[in-house]
């Protein structure tokens, strides 16, 4: 009961706050308070919308003013030049801004390189281009747009009240959207993109689509906010609308509050807007600006992740014992005789991969049978990892075909391949660093496996955490794991996707002998559950012990194929390894 009450309290407070704020204009309080709170709504909506892409997915944009500005001018131009009713222009403003974002995204998000500062600069450049176009075309033309003659619907007794309620509705809608995104598949995918986009894609997150969706959603909200704000400002100029500091303040607000949390930007926006109004009196305005600057510097230095993460961290430390269910450690069952069918699950035909002048794969043919453990060995640079990367879709093929269960997958994007049941691990573990162990595994279950309910996904994740011996570490961040545990987290993540085909890239490297024994038992147990495994390994003891068949790659070509002991005894194979392999 007590737990329920504690959990419901925030909901009740939020509900009361929403109702109270909705009826505020009826309270006949001085219009200034409506205006002031409207401006808070305005900044909350704008900074929250920024965070949808930039905070959640880490695609940091300096050009949010572009989408806001498109909204402002959509409403300004449509109401004054075409007589469109104001309320109708707001959704149009949203759509136009969203289309612009989707268009930019469709070009930019295809280029893996355009991340980080390059994306930020690109958005900034787009802002300048759009501002200049509006300035020099009849949309504005340089004289500004005066909206005094545009009628405002009487939603509330006063004009300010009407704008207040629109801003309020927008703010609630924005926060609801942010909450929904943060708790949805989309949000989960975006958080994964933030941490490691390539891995997210390999785990089945349709990164391209998700980024465009987040960008369009973010822009749509900014556009609608702009549409409403045009009415509030009344006289629109290009210099005032596309002001550089708009984009910077949005970033500042989001980061101050905590850009990865749906409520973070709202807190930052409220704090900074209030702060900017703290020094409006004529005598202290100039010094006030400097004081605001100092406060912001201090806030960022001492709360680098923002207010909400700081509070969360504090709450976590304060709690005596975390109430979490521990995953049960599933005993690793000794395996029965393997069931290897004659049917090949994976067919690789004439696969080549070129990087500029370098031929990494020079025509590889392979058949992997359903249920087998297929070892892939070869000296450094022989193309093992490249082959894994090609099968999992990380690299596009140069030529050849790859067929999984009869379906051609060689040209599919990585997330499609993941959904078809191919999972992989990374030689150097690449966990999502801002997600707990549980979330890391749950994400892979969500995007990789069949469609399941939230509860089923959680159970599945818990099962594999237990299976890999990570029970008790569910709420730990990857930074809190040692190398051995991280390797096993890689395995748990791959297994949670219930793969038909599991690609293991040197899971044993860096482990001590006991850990290796554990891992070997684990791999056998995985196969016993019905997965086919291709594993790349340097450690020949493990290769010989585990594999049903072994393929040797050399200089991008299949060099030898057969039963492990025979292949390893092949003098040609020994010669390419120069005998080093057995010494290891």
């Amino acid at each position: 009961m007590a737990v329920n009450a504690a959990r419901d309290l925030p909901k009740a407070v939020a509900a009361i706050a929403i109702v109270a704020l909705a009826f505020l204009p009826m309270a006949k309080m001085p219009a200034f308070y409506e205006s002031f709170i409207y401006l808070i709504f305005f900044w909350v909506s704008l900074s929250t919308s920024w965070a949808l892409l930039s905070g959640f997915a880490g695609y940091f944009s300096l050009g949010h003013a572009a989408f806001f500005g498109v909204g402002v001018y959509a409403t300004a131009a449509l109401t004054t030049k075409f007589g469109v009713p104001f309320l109708m222009t707001v959704p149009i403003a949203a759509v136009l801004a969203a289309l612009l974002a989707a268009g930019i995204g469709a070009v930019v998000f295809r280029l893996r390189r355009l991340r980080g500062e390059l994306f930020a600069l690109l958005t900034l450049a787009v802002t300048f281009v759009i501002a200049t176009i509006i300035l020099n075309t009849p949309i504005d033309g340089g004289g500004g747009v005066f909206m005094s003659a545009v009628p405002l619907p009487h939603l509330m007794p006063t004009q300010t009240g009407t704008i207040y309620i629109l801003g309020f509705a927008m703010c609630v809608l924005t926060l609801a959207t942010a909450w929904w995104v943060a708790h949805s598949r989309l949000g989960l995918g975006l958080f994964a993109i933030h941490d490691d986009e390539d891995v997210a894609e390999a785990k089945g997150v349709p990164t391209f689509r998700y980024k465009i969706a987040a960008f369009a959603l973010s822009a749509a909200i900014a556009g609608a906010v702009g549409g409403i704000h045009a009415m509030y400002v009344g006289f629109i100029t290009v210099a005032g609308t596309f002001e550089l500091t708009v984009g910077l303040y949005v970033v500042l607000m989001s980061v101050l509050g905590g850009a990865r949390h749906w409520l973070g930007p709202a807190i930052g926006a409220t704090a900074i807007t209030a702060l900017l109004y703290a020094f409006i009196s004529g005598g202290e305005a100039i010094m006030g600006r400097a004081i605001v600057g100092l406060i912001l510097i201090a806030a960022i230095l001492w709360l680098p992740d923002g207010v909400i993460p700081a509070i969360q961290g504090w709450l976590k430390r304060r709690r005596a014992a975390p109430v979490t269910t521990r995953a049960e450690v599933v005993p690793v069952v000794p395996t029965t005789a393997p069931q290897i069918s004659e049917r090949s699950i994976l067919q690789v035909r004439g696969v080549t991969k070129r990087f500029g002048g370098l031929q990494a794969l020079a025509g590889v043919d392979l058949d992997v049978r359903e249920g087998e453990i297929f070892g892939l060995v070869g000296p450094n640079g022989s193309g093992k990892t490249t082959l894994i990367n090609v099968i999992s879709g990380f690299y596009p093929l140069t030529s050849g075909t790859i067929t999984l269960d009869g379906a051609e997958i060689g040209r599919d994007p990585a997330h499609e391949i993941a959904r078809r049941g191919v999972a992989r691990t990374y030689q150097i573990p690449r966990p999502f660093v801002n997600m707990t162990v549980l979330d890391n595994v749950a994400l892979c279950a969500t995007f990789g496996g069949p469609a399941r309910s939230q509860a089923e996904i959680r159970d599945e994740a818990m099962h594999w955490i237990g299976f890999t011996g990570l029970g008790g570490k569910e709420d730990v961040l990857p930074a809190g794991l040692n190398l051995h545990e991280r390797k096993f987290l890689e395995l748990a993540r791959a297994l949670a996707a219930r793969p038909k085909l599991l690609l293991l890239d040197e899971v044993l490297s860096g482990l001590n002998p006991t850990e290796i024994d554990n891992a070997i038992r684990l791999v056998r147990a995985i196969r016993a559950q019905g997965a086919t495994i291709i594993f790349v390994e340097h450690l020949m003891r493990a290769v010989v012990e585990l594999s049903d068949r072994v393929a040797v790659l050399n200089e991008g070509k299949l060099f030898a194929l057969g039963a492990p002991r025979e292949v390893m005894r092949d003098p040609r194979v020994v010669s390419i390894y120069l005998g080093k392999a057995y010494a290891a």
Binding site: F60, V107, V108, L111, R113, L114, E117, L118, L121, L122, L124, A125, V126, F128, V129, A131, T132, I133, L135, N136, G142, L244, T245, L248, V251, L252, V255, I286, M287, R289, A290, V292, G293, L294, L296, I297, I300, L301, P304
Partner: protein, 283 residues
């Protein structure tokens, strides 16, 4: 169609005016590329130096180069002090942007408190001198600016490319831990580099005082275009920054000579967008 003289003159003016973009981009590019710190207060420091040059010149009749000689060491120390803060708090790229934004606001206030927000103009006879070359005129001040920028960019480039210090810095920019393992004292070099960045801002500021408008809000006027220059010139590449500055300056100027001048920003930022999408090897 504009005449060849007009186009040639626009090209000369543009390239030389672009020297200012390059000079401002220089310090920014170094700290961004090699220290992963985006220093927005670079512009504020440049304007502080410009106002100091103005003050020394108008009140005490100090020649601009002597003014620069006095201001540069002070700015160098400010740069070091700034880096002390970043170092102490282990500030990352994004936080550095926001902190230096706030710092720039504080400097803007400081400038406004002493010099007011009203426009200032440092009147010297250099500002209108030019050399005649055939049908073209080459403005002397901008030429001097480009030469100074060229020397600084070239010198910094050589220093980074040829010496142990430069190699160490570049190694540290790639991976600070590995560099540390090879005995590179990244921290000391970072302080040196921050000081240099601020010193370059001071030199740019001296020229701003002679060439451009002085008003506190002008701090923000250069930001967009100089960011574009820093990126086009490749982060951490001083010669690239200068060349990119001249490229942007020239493209803006040609655009102003051929089209309606107000369209010029579209040209420079479209160049940036095109280069980002085109993905040339040097980026």
């Amino acid at each position: 169609m504009p005449s060849a003289t007009l186009l040639g003159q626009a090209l000369i003016s543009g390239v030389l005016a672009g020297g200012m973009y390059g000079l401002l981009a220089l310090g920014l590019s170094l700290s961004w590329g090699l220290l992963r710190l985006v220093n927005l207060s670079h512009f504020a420091l440049a304007f502080l130096a410009a106002y100091l040059t103005y003050e020394l010149g108008t009140t005490y009749h100090v020649a601009p180069w002597w003014a620069a000689a006095m201001i540069v060491p002070v700015m160098f120390l400010i740069g070091i002090a700034q880096h002390w803060l970043f170092d102490k708090f282990k500030v990352n790229e994004l936080a550095s942007l926001l902190i230096t934004f706030s710092f720039a606001v504080i400097l803007e206030v400081a400038i406004q408190l002493y010099w007011t927000a009203d426009y200032r103009r440092f009147e010297t006879h250099y500002s209108t001198m030019s050399i005649k070359a055939g049908p073209f005129y080459i403005p002397v001040l901008e030429l001097a600016l480009c030469m100074v920028a060229g020397v600084l960019a070239w010198g910094t480039w050589l220093w980074l490319r040829k010496t142990y210090v430069g190699k160490a810095l570049r190694a540290a920019a790639e991976d600070a831990d590995i560099a540390a393992a090879y005995g590179v004292d990244h921290k000391k070099l970072a302080y040196l580099l921050s000081g240099m960045g601020a010193a370059y801002a001071a030199i740019a500021g001296t020229f701003i005082a002679l060439i451009a408008t002085l008003a506190p809000t002008q701090i923000w006027a250069w930001l967009g275009v100089v960011f574009a220059v820093v990126i086009i010139g490749r982060l951490g590449n001083p010669l690239g920054a200068l060349l990119a500055g001249m490229l942007i300056g020239a493209s803006e100027s040609i655009a102003m000579a051929v089209f309606e001048p107000a369209w010029a920003p579209v040209v420079s930022f479209s160049v940036l967008i095109a280069i980002l999408l085109w993905d040339p090897e040097w980026l």
